[in-house]
C-alpha cells in the first residue's frame, strides 16, 4: 500500500513569532523531497510538526487522508512516520546493538512482552544485526552509544530509522558534522531507500551538492513560509532561492 502525506496551512506560533507559516505541501511516494532554507527558517520545526514533537497552532497534517494533527508523537510513529534527528538523539548508556534492537522491537510492535527474556527473541536480534551490517557498525555492536565517534553516532541514528521500517522517512541533516569519507555511507543508504517507490523520503539538508544528487524535488522555506517548490534545477536557478537561500541577490550576481 502506498502512502500519502500532506500538510495543509500548517502553522506554529511561539508567542508573536510565527516559526512555520501556513505551509501546504503534498508529499508523494517514491519521491525524495529536500527541504532547504537558511538557518532559523523553520525546517526542523516543520519536521517536528509533522512527526508530532510539536503541536500545530493551526492547520493540519494528513497521513493517508487521515487528520493526525491531534495525535501524539508515539501514535504517529506507529502509523509509519519515521523521524531521525539533527542533534544526535540516542540511548547513550545502552549498547549500539541494543539501540537498534529497540527500534526493531518498535517496528514489530513488541511493547509489553515482559515474561520472555530478550535474548530469546532471535528474530529481533538477527534483524538488528543485519541493519548494523548495512551501516557498517557491526564491529561496534557491544560499545555503548555514548562512546561512539560523532560519525558513528550519525550512522546509528540512521540505523534506528531503517530499523523502524517507517513509510515516511524524515531525515534532519543526516550528514551534519560527518567526515568526508563517512558521509557517503549514509548518503548511499538514503539513495538505496529511494529505490522503494512506496515510501516517502524527506530530507532537511544544507549541503547543496547532496541535495542536487539525491533530491527529486526541493522545497524552500524562508521565515517559516514556503517560497519555492519544484524540481531541483528550476528551484536552484530561481531568483528567490538565489536571494533567500544562497544569499546572492540577482543584481550582485549580474554585476559580478
Amino acid at each position: 500500500m502506498s502512502v500519502s502525506l500532506e500538510t495543509r496551512d500548517l502553522t506554529i506560533r511561539f508567542g508573536g513569532h510565527v516559526a512555520v507559516d501556513r505551509v501546504s505541501c503534498v508529499f508523494r511516494p517514491g519521491e525524495l523531497t529536500a527541504i532547504v532554507g537558511p538557518n532559523g527558517a523553520g525546517k526542523t520545526t516543520y519536521f517536528n510538526l509533522i512527526s508530532g514533537q510539536l503541536r500545530a497552532s493551526a492547520g493540519q497534517v494528513l497521513l493517508d487522508g487521515v487528520d493526525i494533527t491531534p495525535e501524539s508523537a508515539p501514535l504517529r510513529a506507529r502509523r509509519g512516520l519515521g523521524r531521525a534527528f539533527q542533534l544526535t538523539n540516542l540511548f547513550p548508556n545502552l549498547t549500539v546493538a541494543e539501540n537498534v534492537r529497540l527500534a526493531v522491537q518498535a517496528a514489530r510492535g513488541v511493547h509489553y512482552d515482559m515474561l520472555r527474556p530478550w535474548a530469546l527473541r532471535r528474530d529481533l536480534i538477527q534483524r538488528a544485526d543485519e541493519i548494523l551490517g548495512e551501516v557498517a557498525l557491526e564491529s561496534k555492536r557491544a560499545h555503548s552509544a555514548a562512546v561512539l565517534s560523532h560519525g558513528d553516532q550519525r550512522k546509528l541514528e540512521v540505523a534506528l530509522m531503517i530499523a523502524l521500517e517507517p513509510r515516511v522517512f524524515m531525515f534532519d541533516e543526516p550528514t551534519a558534522g560527518m567526515s568526508v569519507d563517512e558521509a557517503p555511507i549514509v548518503l548511499d543508504l538514503i539513495a538505496r531507500l529511494k529505490k522503494d517507490a512506496s515510501k516517502i523520503i524527506m530530507l532537511v539538508e544544507h549541503k547543496m551538492d547532496v541535495v542536487r544528487s539525491l533530491a527529486d524535488r526541493i522545497i524552500v522555506l524562508t521565515n517559516g513560509a514556503c517560497v519555492a517548490d519544484g524540481d531541483p534545477a528550476t528551484v536552484i536557478a530561481s531568483p528567490v532561492v538565489q536571494e533567500a537561500y544562497l544569499g546572492i541577490a540577482p543584481k550582485e550576481k549580474a554585476a559580478s
Binding site: 501524539s72 508515539p74 510513529a77 538523539n89 540511548f91 522491537q105 518498535a106 512482552d113 515482559m114 530478550w118
Partner: protein, 352 residues
C-alpha cells in the same frame, strides 16, 4: 541462567551473590537463636522490596516515595485478613489478593495521573499520597489497630510451637519458625527471579530506553506514560508481596514496621549501596545494610568497652553504641564516594 538470561556478570559478583544466597538458604542450620534468623528473614524481605524499587529507580528512572505504602498495603492486607478471618491459609490468600488489588489500582491511578509530568512532580505526589496513607492507617484503628498495629496468629504449620522434626540435620529442630523462614526465603527467591525476567524482557529494555531518552523513545512509537505506569504497578505489586511476607514472618503489622518514612530512606540507601539498575544490587545492599543495622551497634559496644578499658575515654566516645547511626552514615557516604555505581557496579567493572 536459564530462567532469565540475566546472570550476575563478573566472577567476584557471582561469588558474592552465591555466598549471600547460600548463607540465607542455610541460615536456620548455621545460626542459632532467634535474632540471627530474624536478621536473615529481614534481609530476604528487603532484598525483594529493594529489587522492586530498583525496577522503578534503576530501570525506569522514576523517583517514587510511595514504595513503603505498597509494602504496607501488603503487610496490612495479610494482617487484617489473619486477624479478622482467623489464622488459616485462606485468610493469607484473601489478604494477599486484596492487597495486590488495592496496590495495583492505587499504583495505576498515581501513574496515570502524574507520570505525564516531570520527575520531581511525580516524586512530590507519591510523597503526599504515602503520607496521607500512613496517617489514614494510624487513624482507622478499628481496621488497622492504629499506632499499635495488629498482632495476629499464623496458620498452625507456621507457629513456633509446631514441630516437624525434633532432631533434624546438624541436630537442629525444624519447627514452624523454620518453615515460616523457608516460606519467606523461597517466596523471595521466586519473586526475585520473576523480577529479573521482567527487567531482562523486551519490555524491560523499553523501560531502560525511556530512562535514557524519553523523547527518542516516543519517536520510536513507545508510549512512555503507559510504560512508566506499568513499571510503577509492577513495583507496587512486588512491594506488596514483600510486605505480606514480612507480616507473616513478624506475625505483626504496624505503622513503624511498614509505613514509616525511615523505611523509605532505608530502601533508598540500600539501592544506592548495592547499585542501581542491576537488581542484584538489591541483594547486596539489603545484606550489607541489614547486617550493619543489627550488628554495628553490638560491634561498637565491644570496641567501646575495649577502648574505655585501655584508658582512652575521649576516643571511646566515638564508639559509644548510641552513636551507631553516625557510623552508618559515614559508611554510606564512603560507599557512595568510592562506589558511585554501587557495590555491584564496582564488582562488575573490576572483572570486566
Amino acid at each position: 541462567m536459564l530462567l532469565s538470561g540475566n546472570p550476575p556478570r563478573g566472577k567476584l559478583l557471582t561469588a558474592l551473590i552465591v555466598l549471600i544466597v547460600a548463607a540465607l538458604a542455610f541460615a536456620p542450620f548455621i545460626l542459632q537463636g532467634s535474632k540471627p534468623l530474624n536478621v536473615a528473614a529481614t534481609i530476604c524481605v528487603f532484598a525483594l522490596l529493594v529489587a522492586s524499587y530498583d525496577v522503578l529507580l534503576g530501570y525506569a528512572g522514576i523517583v517514587s516515595f510511595a514504595h513503603t505504602m505498597f509494602f504496607g498495603i501488603g503487610a496490612y492486607g495479610v494482617a487484617i485478613a489473619l486477624y479478622g478471618l482467623g489464622p488459616s491459609w485462606t485468610s493469607i490468600l484473601i489478604g494477599l489478593l486484596a492487597a495486590l488489588l488495592v496496590a495495583g489500582v492505587l499504583a495505576l491511578a498515581i501513574g496515570l495521573f502524574s507520570l505525564r509530568v516531570q520527575t520531581i512532580f511525580f516524586a512530590m505526589v507519591t510523597l503526599a499520597v504515602a503520607s496521607a496513607f500512613a496517617v489514614g492507617a494510624s487513624q482507622l484503628s478499628w481496621l488497622t489497630g492504629g499506632e499499635d498495629g495488629r498482632t495476629f496468629s499464623t496458620p498452625a504449620l507456621l507457629r513456633p510451637g509446631y514441630r516437624l522434626v525434633e532432631n533434624g540435620p546438624f541436630g537442629v529442630e525444624i519447627n514452624g519458625r523454620t518453615l515460616t523462614y523457608y516460606l519467606v526465603f523461597f517466596g523471595v527467591v521466586f519473586l526475585f527471579l520473576l523480577l529479573l525476567r521482567i527487567v531482562e524482557s523486551p519490555f524491560g529494555r523499553v523501560l531502560q530506553a525511556i530512562r535514557e531518552n524519553p523523547f527518542r523513545s516516543e519517536a520510536l512509537g513507545y508510549r512512555i506514560v503507559v510504560h512508566r505506569t506499568a513499571a510503577v504497578v509492577i513495583g507496587a505489586l512486588f512491594a506488596a508481596c514483600a510486605g505480606a511476607l514480612n507480616a507473616i514472618w513478624l506475625r505483626y503489622t504496624g505503622p513503624d514496621t511498614t509505613l514509616s518514612f525511615s523505611i523509605m530512606l532505608d530502601i533508598l540507601v540500600m539501592v544506592v549501596i548495592g547499585g542501581m539498575g542491576t537488581l542484584y544490587g538489591a541483594i547486596v545492599g539489603a545484606a550489607v545494610f541489614v547486617v550493619a543495622q543489627n550488628y554495628l551497634q553490638a560491634l561498637m559496644g565491644v570496641a567501646f568497652k575495649a577502648i574505655n578499658a585501655a584508658g582512652l575515654p575521649f576516643l571511646a566516645g566515638f564508639f559509644n553504641p548510641d552513636r551507631w547511626l553516625l557510623w552508618l552514615g559515614l559508611l554510606f557516604i564512603l560507599s557512595v564516594y568510592f562506589f558511585p555505581t554501587g557495590i555491584v557496579g564496582k564488582l562488575r567493572a573490576e572483572t570486566k
